[in-house]
């Protein structure tokens, strides 16, 4: 049998095996991830446990991965001190260290890769990791995702001002980073998340001006509600914000639908949490939509499993999806066409529903006639298509701030169930990473020498007039068969 011929410019054999590998890699060192790591280590496995906290100041500025709303103090810029603070505030990690788990803080996971449909070139299953200095790949037998849940943000007038933020971000800044810059909070949402957020803020000595509830009555667990009342925190029901008013430092006042105004420096969206399934989805892992558990959640997928909130919020019989649409309806009613939906790309609600391009392009008359309505006449709503045309969700926050709201708006506008709307794709790297950090500065010799700008087929780029002339051979000789470069 003769050896299989290999195209020198194809990927075959160019990815080296990762230099480190573990039986189990756990992404996220919250309590669920830590417990999974400890259990695996106690079973004798080699275990790596990584956590992206403390995330960098620039990630916080981009609201990655939580909706920080520019309310972190400058302390987050001191990464050495931050790592100590974060470690101190994750006391459960002691158990992992005792169990022999290798623990790495300040390390994010930005991609998971394995062979499957359309990919056969990988040296086994690998996860891409990065810290503030470099990126690397680690091999694994089993991967446990414990990435938690991120904030659901919904647009309303002024939500793009500093000080409008998410409940998960607040909890991180208060509990783990000790770096929250706000003092007077209004909290949106009275389900468990809102009540827990109010109690946390109160316990940390922050002033909770009010908890606002769009529905007619508080939504959360009665025991939590009693605690909130006992703390003297006001819950206003049947009311929602219509505008944030502010100055150079962001939020100063919140105007409500009943005409009243609350003075505050931060508005905390505690309407919902979204399981962080980016890694799973970027791998095209199987998932389901469960309105009781916060939306799209991963299904067990061979060697990859999920624990904690990223596997879905606890099902308490509360329909999170319906609740979120109630808030979207109320806040959306306060929006004008000029309300920003995508902060990164500065696209408005009118731009989105008009399927208009960003302002650096002209909008000729024919284009102005186009809209979501005309696009829906051509086929079912697709958020990825809308993303590419309007750029909503295409910015440096990687769509975290607006992707869920845009999906909900598309569902409403198209009369589609949110569960039936194709999930806008997640793509690696699922965390923004500088070129110099994600770059492979130690790439294989095979990669270096086999590189070609495009396909490496010697005849492809020969000018048509030169085909069959001596220039064809000259082209092949000088360019080395293609444009190997």
């Amino acid at each position: 049998m003769t050896a299989r011929k290999i195209d020198p410019h194809a990927i075959d054999g160019k990815f080296p095996a990762p230099t480190t590998r573990y039986a189990v890699v756990v992404i996220g060192a919250g309590e669920a991830g830590c417990a999974a790591a400890v259990a695996a280590a106690q079973g004798g496995a080699s275990v790596l446990l990584v956590d992206e906290n403390p995330v960098s100041g620039s990630a916080i500025g981009n609201d990655v991965p939580w909706f920080f709303g520019a309310r972190a103090t400058t302390a987050v810029g001191n990464s050495g001190r931050m790592i100590e603070t974060v470690f101190t505030n994750m006391p459960w990690l002691e158990a992992a260290i005792e169990a022999g788990v290798e623990l790495q803080l300040g390390v994010c996971a930005w991609g998971v890769y394995r062979n499957g449909p359309l990919v056969g070139s990988l040296p086994g299953q690998v996860v891409g990791l990065a810290d503030a200095e470099r990126s690397w790949l680690v091999g694994f037998d089993r991967l446990v995702l414990a990435t938690g849940a991120r904030d659901l943000a919904l647009p309303f007038p002024g939500w793009n001002q500093p000080g409008v933020m998410g409940a998960a971000a607040l909890r991180m800044l208060v509990e783990r980073y000790e770096a929250f810059a706000g003092r007077r909070l209004v909290i949106l949402g009275s389900h468990d998340l809102g009540l827990e957020t109010a109690l946390l803020a109160h316990a940390k000595g922050l002033e909770v001006v009010a908890v606002l509830e769009v529905r007619g009555a508080p939504q959360g667990d009665p025991a939590l509600l009693d605690q909130v009342k006992a703390a003297g925190i006001a819950i206003q029901c049947g009311v929602h914000p219509v505008e944030v008013q502010g100055g150079i430092d962001g939020v100063e006042r919140l105007v409500l639908s009943d005409g009243s105004t609350l003075t505050c420096d931060s508005v905390v969206l505690a309407i919902g949490l979204v399981p962080m399934i980016e890694l799973h989805d970027a791998l095209n892992g199987a998932r389901t939509f469960d309105p009781m558990r916060g939306g799209h959640i991963p299904q067990p997928d061979g060697a990859i499993s999920a624990v904690g909130l990223c596997a879905g919020l606890p099902d308490t019989g509360f329909d999170h999806a319906a609740y979120r649409f109630d808030w979207l309806g109320a806040l959306g009613g306060a929006c004008g066409g000029d309300t920003i939906v995508c902060q990164c790309e500065e696209m408005t609600l009118a731009d989105l529903t008009g399927v208009q391009p960003p302002r650096y392009l002209d909008r000729p008359p024919a284009l102005q006639q186009r809209s979501l309505k005309t696009l829906l006449a051509d086929g079912p709503a697709n958020q990825d298509q809308i993303k590419r045309l309007t750029r909503t969700g295409m910015g440096q926050c990687q769509g975290r701030r607006c992707r869920d709201a845009v999906a909900m708006i598309l569902a409403v506008e198209s009369g589609t169930e949110l569960s039936a709307l194709p999930l806008a794709t997640h793509r690696a790297p699922v965390r923004p990473l500088p070129l110099r950090i994600i770059a492979d500065w130690e790439e294989s010799e095979e990669m270096r020498t086999g590189w070609d700008v495009w396909m490496g087929i010697p005849t492809q780029w020969v000018p048509y007039a030169d085909i069959g002339t001596p220039y064809e051979e000259e082209n092949r000789r000088v360019l080395g068969g293609a444009m190997a470069l």
Binding site: F15, L361, P364, Q396, A439, W454, M455, I457, T459
Partner: protein, 374 residues
């Protein structure tokens, strides 16, 4: 005489452009696609419009500066390109490409390192020089395919998405109707420009069109300060700075792939992201601090010699651009339209793109080239 009824299979750049040209010529056009408009390679490529190797080059160059006006929708076309070298070998190759183009009458200027740095503020001390194409340029792929689709609709053409073709009805060797999951469409002629699926569709009509499919990858960064000229690449990369400022680049090893007749269900990217990032950081050191925010992959089809096929058998016109279709689409659509309506290309000789060059090709042509999926 009533309008000719034409069915175009494939709503990518080539098929939509062909449909638009056919509608402009007065035909009654229906475009069928298995999925969404421009959803495969046509909407996810580097956007280059500078294909000096092609017989369609002059038409490509004539049309791009007019496309926004002709279509009525923006394509983000921006003229000219700079290719910069960071190794002596690259500089030698680029100089050869410049000399070759100048011999053929396409103006390319040589730039020394300081001239490149003047034109490309993100370039670094490692730049050794470059070349400046005084033609060509780049456009936004997805915006352009949607522009074709909308312009076609404005002319009365019809696009049926999510409607894969399931068969053909023929009479006397000619296709009389195209069957799809959304129904049967009677026609006087058909054009097939269905990317990797073109070969399997051609086989149903007894036509052998040898094709192999490969997966290729790109990355994009957050926006960088706008450069005077966004069409900057080199160092083994193709790509551009978009009008938003993002740096979108691809290149490097491809992977030969296999999939079913409905096309690839998923288009995963790989850790090649890291190698692309390295090349881009070397090319534009001034951008090395910028965040990569996405990677993606696309699937393209290749003929055995990497050159397109644009040819007609009976009333069937076939087109594969062999992985270099987007930039040439204004011209390839014109050529396809000419073949459908008149049997020959009106504006240039494309005889060497004929199908007969593969007559008698060995059954194991993919094995011979190492083009088998892993």
């Amino acid at each position: 005489m009533s309008a000719q009824r034409i069915v175009v299979v494939g709503a990518g750049a080539s098929g939509l452009s062909a449909a638009w040209w056919l509608a402009r010529a007065g035909a009654s056009v229906t475009v069928l696609d298995k999925g969404l408009v421009g959803w495969e390679a046509s909407g996810r490529n580097g956007g280059g419009c500078s294909h000096y190797q092609s017989p369609l080059f002059k038409e490509e160059q004539r049309l791009w500066p007019q496309m926004d006006e002709l279509l009525g929708y923006p394509t983000e076309f921006s003229p000219e390109r700079i290719v910069m070298a960071v190794t002596p070998r690259q500089l030698e190759q680029y100089h050869y490409i410049a000399q070759m183009n100048n011999r053929l009458g396409h103006r390319v200027d040589l730039l020394d390192a300081s001239q490149v740095r003047e034109a490309v503020p993100l370039a670094g001390d490692n730049c050794l020089g470059g070349i400046h194409y005084r033609f060509g340029g780049h456009a936004n792929p997805h915006r352009t395919v949607q522009a074709y689709a909308w312009a076609l609709q404005d002319l009365g053409g019809r696009i049926v998405q999510h409607s894969p073709v399931t068969g053909f009805q023929t009479a006397g060797g000619k296709v009389t109707a195209v069957e799809s999951t959304s129904g049967t469409y009677e026609c006087d002629a058909v054009a097939i420009a269905a990317g990797p699926q073109t070969g399997a569709l051609a086989v149903q009509l007894g036509i052998d069109l040898p094709l192999a499919a490969a997966r290729a990858e790109m990355i994009v960064t957050e926006p960088a300060p706008m450069m005077k000229l966004g069409g900057v690449d080199g160092n083994g990369l193709y790509g551009r700075q978009t009008l938003r400022g993002n740096l979108a680049y691809g290149g490097g090893p491809h992977e030969w792939v296999e999939f079913g007749e409905l096309g690839p269900a998923t288009k995963p990217s790989t850790p090649l992201t890291r190698n692309l990032a390295r090349r881009l950081a070397e090319l534009l050191p001034g951008a090395a601090h910028l965040n990569v925010i996405r990677s993606w992959a696309g699937v393209i089809e290749m003929t055995p010699d990497g050159r397109p096929v644009i040819d007609r058998r009976e009333n069937v016109t076939l087109c594969t651009m062999s992985g270099v279709g987007f930039g040439l689409s204004p011209a390839s659509g014109h050529a396809i339209s000419d073949l459908v309506l008149n049997g020959r290309c009106s504006f240039t000789d494309i005889d060497k793109l004929g199908l007969s060059r593969f007559d008698g090709i060995e059954a194991d042509w993919r094995e011979q080239r190492g083009w088998l999926a892993l």
